[in-house]
Every structure is written in C-alpha cells, then in structure tokens.
C-alpha cells in the first residue's frame, strides 16, 4: 500500500532578510500510512510548525518534495484539515457557524445538509447543546473541541494538529487527549500530531518522530506498540515508561551534545 504522506529529502530555508538565511529543516525523510497516528516531538524552534506549513501546502519546501497520496503538494488541499495551537474561533459567529466557516469561506454559502453534518460533528466532540452559543461562553478546552470539529467539516483524510492542547491546563489536557483518541476511533483519520509533551506523544501515537534542534531533522522514528484502545491504564502499562525514556534520552542527548 502506498503511504498517505511522504517526505522525500525535504529541507527548508527561511529568507529572513536579504543576506541572512535560516535553515529550519534539513533532509527530512519519513512517511505516514493510512489511519496512522503519528506524533512529532522536539525542542522549541526545531521546525515543527515549519513541517506543518509544508504538509498543509501553505509553503513549498526549498528542497525535496512533500507527497500526499503519491502526488506532490503544490498548494493547500481540502484533504488536509488543520487544528491550531490556539482555537482561534471567530468571536462573532455561533459555535455552529464556526464549524461551518470553512464551507462559507470556500463557497460563500452553507447548505443545510452541511449544517446537519456540523451538528453531527458537534455531537462527536460532545458540544451539541452549545451549538448556538458564542465561543466566548465556552471554556478553553471546549473551544479547542470546536476547532477540531471545524477541521473535520471538509471531511479531510489527514488531520494536522500543531500543539493543540498546549494552551490547556494539565488536567484538561489529559482529558482532551483521550477525547481525541475517541474521536479518532469513531472517525478514523491519518493524524500528524505536534507536541512538546513526551507523555502525550507516547499515549496517543502509533509512531513518534523525534526532531533535533535547529537545523531540524528527524533523528528517531519510534513505533509505539501499546494496546488500543488507550486509556488511563495505558499510562500504567509497563512499556509506557520505557518508551518515554527512550524519547527523553534522544531529546536530551542532542541537547547535551549541543551544550558542549
């Protein structure tokens, strides 16, 4: 079977001003299979958000190619849905209208079937009774769920999430992790999940990519072989700490090498 997402020798430089260049990513190679849940961890500034911009087609890499379904990405496509770090909902729209916003933005209008589908999605994220409220009346975690529903409205095959829970407190964060897994099991998608948290990566993912500090590259691809469905008991699984340790070693080794 062909991989869904494929990075071939991808490097990216930012031209920050006329003379100065920032090498954000170098020689990235990996692939993601259908309905796989892949997490990316790495220190701040290693190029995770750059990776996201390349995968969503918002930018093209300076070298190499990003392929989705075997075709090179040249521009954004509806098959890719994005969940941002902050929920960034539109405060003047109701929760329901926020979920259908991508359709409104793309076509100028929203069909009534689409509204029904949006209601289904709100039910999926557990917010159907808040459909007609304004985002300001929702908690941070609830807003982020609306963000997830918004990313799903165009029925993407691939869901990209850039540290989606980092603005939440530790408790909501854990709950949202399990929520995300439940949603993912009900609506299987290929997921690329960017995070700072090693535990979150191990808990959620089938495979974790570890990135080195700038210039960022993938230094380790670690398959996580923990039973699904994952829940609170997964955290106590004997291999959980083992995987977390491996990841921690990889991340801090690089840091130590850098400091010498």
């Amino acid at each position: 079977m062909k991989p869904f997402v494929c990075f071939n020798k991808v490097s990216h430089q930012y031209q920050s001003n006329t003379t100065h260049k920032v090498q954000a990513l170098t020689d990235i190679n990996f692939h993601i299979n259908k309905h796989e849940f892949v997490a990316v961890v790495g220190p701040s500034g290693c190029g995770k958000s750059t990776l996201l911009k390349l995968i969503t087609g918002l930018m093209s890499p300076s070298e190499g190619s990003v392929e989705i379904f075997g075709k090179t990405m040249h521009e954004p496509r509806n098959e890719v849905g994005i969940v941002f770090q902050k929920p960034t909902l539109l405060p003047w729209l109701s929760v329901l209208d926020n979920v259908t916003f991508p359709l409104k933005h793309q076509h100028g209008k929203v069909a009534s079937e689409a509204k029904q589908y949006a209601m289904t999605l709100l039910k999926l994220v557990g917010l159907e009774q808040f459909a007609h409220q304004r985002p300001a009346q929702l908690s941070g975690g609830m807003q982020q769920r609306v963000g997830i529903a918004r990313a799903l409205i165009l029925k993407p095959e691939i869901l990209i999430m850039d540290e989606p829970f980092s603005a939440l407190d530790a408790l909501s964060r854990e709950i949202m992790g399990f929520e995300l897994l439940r949603i993912w099991e009900e609506e299987p998608k290929t997921v690329l999940f960017i995070t700072h948290s090693i535990n979150e990566a191990v808990l959620l993912a089938d495979k974790v990519l570890v990135m080195s500090p700038r210039p960022g590259t993938v230094v380790e691809e670690l398959p996580i072989d923990l039973p699904r469905p994952r829940n609170n008991t997964t955290l106590k699984h004997e291999k959980f700490a083992y995987y977390a340790d491996i990841l921690r070693d990889h991340i801090f080794q690089k840091h130590a090498a850098l400091n010498e």
């Binding site: 969503t56 918002l58 902050k86 539109l90 933005h105």
Partner: protein, 255 residues
C-alpha cells in the same frame, strides 16, 4: 432600583452641578461676561426664537454627521488598501500623519477658496479632522487578526475579498468602534471650526456672532447645546455597537 440608581447617578451628579454653579456665581458676584449663571443662560436661551435655535442646531448636526459619514466611507476602503499592500502602507501613512498634524484651522480658509462658499468646504474640514483616528484604528484592528486565521483562509484558498470581508474586517470591529467614538466627537469640533471660518448658520457661527455682540450668556447656551449634541452622538455610536455588534464589547459592558 439599585441598578437604575447606578445607571443614572452620573447624570444626577452632573445636574447637581447646576445649582452649585448658580450659587457660586451668585455669592462671588461673577460678572456675566466672564461666567454667566445658569439662570441667566436660561433667560438668554428663552429670548432666542425656537426656530432659530433649531435652524442652527440642525446646520451643525448635519455638517458633523455628513462629514463623519463621508470620512467613514473614505477611511474604511483606505484602511483595507493599506492592510493589503505594505507599499501603500509605508507611503500613505506618513502622508496621513502630515495631514493630521497640519492644523485644520490653517487649512480651512484655503479649502474655502478651493471649494467655494457652500457646504462642501465644511464637510471637507469635518472629514479631514475625523478620518485619521478611523483609518488608524481600522488598520490596527485588521492587522491584529491572528495569523492562524490567515493561514486557515489560505489553506481553504479563500479569495482576498472573503479574507477581508469574513475575517479581517469583523476582527477589526472593536477597534473600528474605538475609532468611531473618537471620530464623532472630533466631527463636532470640525463642524464648529468650519462654521467659524465660513458660515451664516450653525452653532459655531452663532457662538461667534453672539460674542461679537457681547451676548455672552447666549454664546454659553449655544456651547451647552454643542456639549449635549456631542454626548448624544457619542451615545448613538455606543448604542449601535451594543445593538448590532454586542459580541465586540468587553465582557463587563455586554450587560
């Protein structure tokens, strides 16, 4: 009851100043040409025909409101252009600052030479004085749109028009209303300045006319009218925001 009191307390406090004013002027024997007492101002107000008041009032409100609307029609598209093109932003902004910092009183006579003696120069002067805060607040608001939403728009391949109309512009609404609130009070100032320079009616003209005949209490009556108009117009902007854009008010004002 408590809530109503809370609401009307500022007005009551203002009204309470009137007897105080009367008393102080009476006790200190302040001459009318320096600070007339409220009762004297009231007499002066009664002495002028109601139709004349209405005529002057209407002339000023008309110039202020039309000039203000005109400046909105100019400012909003200008702000959109400046947000879309950093070149325009960099060239137009210094120009706007220059226009804003040139005293309008100095340009007013020129405008009358250029635009003739009708209503046009008065509208132009009002517009000139009000449009700067509106442009600045609108551009600031549009540029403060979270970059994630612009990324979202790009990932959806939304047109530039929809990016402005569905995302940037609504995001700027709270800022735009701050600009409008500053703008509307300036509009009254603009109208009065324009009437000082060239007019045969309007409250500004009436103030000047009254003082030149030493009818100070009459001028004060006109001044009070001007303050009341300013307050009412300002309040109208707040009402419009509260009725149509309630979401854009800070949480404690949404009640």
């Amino acid at each position: 009851m408590n809530k109503a009191l809370h609401r009307y307390l500022p007005i009551l406090a203002l009204l309470a100043l009137i007897p105080l004013w009367e008393l102080i002027c009476y006790l200190a024997n302040v001459p009318n040409y320096i600070l007339p007492r409220p009762s004297v101002i009231y007499d002066a107000f009664i002495n002028v025909d109601k139709m004349r008041w209405l005529e002057h009032l209407w002339a000023t409100v008309r110039v202020a409101v039309l000039g203000f609307l005109l400046s909105i029609f100019i400012s909003l598209p200008l702000a959109v252009l400046m947000v879309q093109s950093s070149f325009l932003n960099r060239t137009l902004f210094p120009l706007l600052v220059i226009i804003q910092s040139t005293p309008v009183v100095a340009i007013a006579p020129l405008l009358i030479v250029i635009l003739g003696a009708g209503e046009a120069p008065r509208l132009a002067i009002t517009c000139l004085i009000t449009f700067f805060p509106i442009v600045v607040s609108t551009t600031t608001g549009m540029l403060s749109t979270p970059s994630e939403l612009i990324d979202l728009s790009r990932s959806l391949k939304g047109s530039v028009f929809r990016q402005i109309w569905q995302i940037r512009f609504p995001f700027a609404i709270p800022h735009i209303f701050s600009g409008l609130k500053v703008g509307i009070t300036l509009a009254i100032i603009g109208a009065v300045i324009s009437e000082f320079v060239a007019a045969e009616k309007g409250l500004g003209y009436f103030v000047q006319f009254s003082t030149s005949y030493f009818k100070i209490p009459q001028a004060f009556a006109a001044l009070l009218f001007l303050s009341i108009i300013s307050l009412l117009l300002f309040q109208t902007i707040r009402w419009i925001q509260a009725i149509f854009f309630a979401w854009s008010l800070p949480a404690e004002e949404q009640k």
